[in-house]
Assembly symmetry: C2
């Protein structure tokens, strides 16, 4: 039994939902509300499970109830323990290309525009809404431009040829966020095409934020 | 032949130097100055190699001259292609624990305190030096507290028992940065002890920023 601690709008949790669906793994969801009660991820109960106080967290009852933090650590774990329907290509060079793009999203784009960072900007730093929006757009476009260039070897297909995986699990949630913040995406035709291909697949449709049990 | 595009003070490049040294792999260094010329990582020549315009980048001439961006993608690649002296433990649960800690540093701590972000704070946002320092300390202590808790299973040793690897390659450069910014680290005895154990090893000493050819 797999249990995913997540939040419908957390794009890191969204990555893991996609990966679990691609592998056809059943899982239970435990919602952790990122805003209510000052952020339930900071509650003593959740902090005892995950000292990082971030989402997502995966508990694997089939393997001693181990709890794994960090979405990309979870994706790697799933690919190692449930190798059927791989998330990463087999060739080490291709794997490296995929990981480099996914990590660019996960390290250098997403964390800068995360809710807790935007809250720090408007709270502690007293930044205006306009300046906060400019910050968001700056890091988003900076990151997406690099991803667009990096997608050249995957044009017309998925990161595993016929199948999406690790890369798409990071890309689609990032695009969801970009659209939520009304970002102009015309400069990224490869990203838009890959995302559109993913959105026709059930694994992605069923991972979408709006259809999660805790969506409001 | 391996070539590392880096910068002596880039902590992401520092991670890769440690990993290469741990594996005993020879490599050439190409310095890319992060400040000179408005940041040489933004030059047309470098951008053609790495559209992410970030360091490090690894070129592997032995494998078709492939170029790999993102320090953690490089670490994974090295562990797959040069498996001797592994960077990650063998057990998937242990691997997941190690990756979750390394990713917490690489995704949720380091990018927020990166040079380009600090530059945006003081430049575009006109934030004072004191407020910038408070930002730095906020994300550093937030991240280190979680890492300190996560190190409990590794107390007294390394992430691979007798040997350091992936985790230490991320931890030691982060500590180097924290010391550069005069952060009080007394609250993190496990981090300090693990770092001290690493610092006695040649692989770490030879990767230190100050002994790199481009150090000034």
């Amino acid at each position: 039994m797999l249990t995913l601690y997540g939040y419908w709008r957390s794009s890191a949790a969204y990555r893991v939902r996609i990966a679990l669906n691609l592998k056809g793994l059943a899982y239970e969801q435990v919602p952790v509300h990122l805003v209510k009660d000052g952020g339930q991820q900071h509650s003593a109960a959740y902090k005892a499970l995950n000292p990082q106080e971030l989402l997502p967290l995966l508990a694997d009852e089939g393997h001693g109830g181990v709890k794994i933090a960090q979405s990309l650590a979870i994706l790697e774990y799933l690919d190692e323990v449930f190798p059927e329907t791989p998330l990463l290509p087999r060739d080490p060079l291709r794997r490296a290309q995929v990981r480099a793009l996914a990590l660019h999203i996960a390290c250098d784009l997403h964390p800068l525009n995360n809710l807790r960072v935007l809250q720090y900007l408007t709270g502690e730093l007293g930044v205006s809404d306009a300046a906060k929006d400019a910050w968001y757009q700056h890091w988003l476009h900076n990151g997406l431009a690099a991803v667009e260039a990096g997608l050249a070897p995957f044009e017309g297909g998925f990161s595993l040829g016929e199948q999406p995986g690790y890369l798409e699990a990071c890309l689609v949630p990032q695009l969801y966020n970009a659209r939520r913040f009304n970002c102009d995406l015309d400069a990224y035709p490869r990203i838009l095409a890959m995302t559109a291909r993913c959105e026709t697949l059930q694994a992605f449709a069923q991972a979408a934020p709006e259809v999660q049990p805790d969506a409001v």
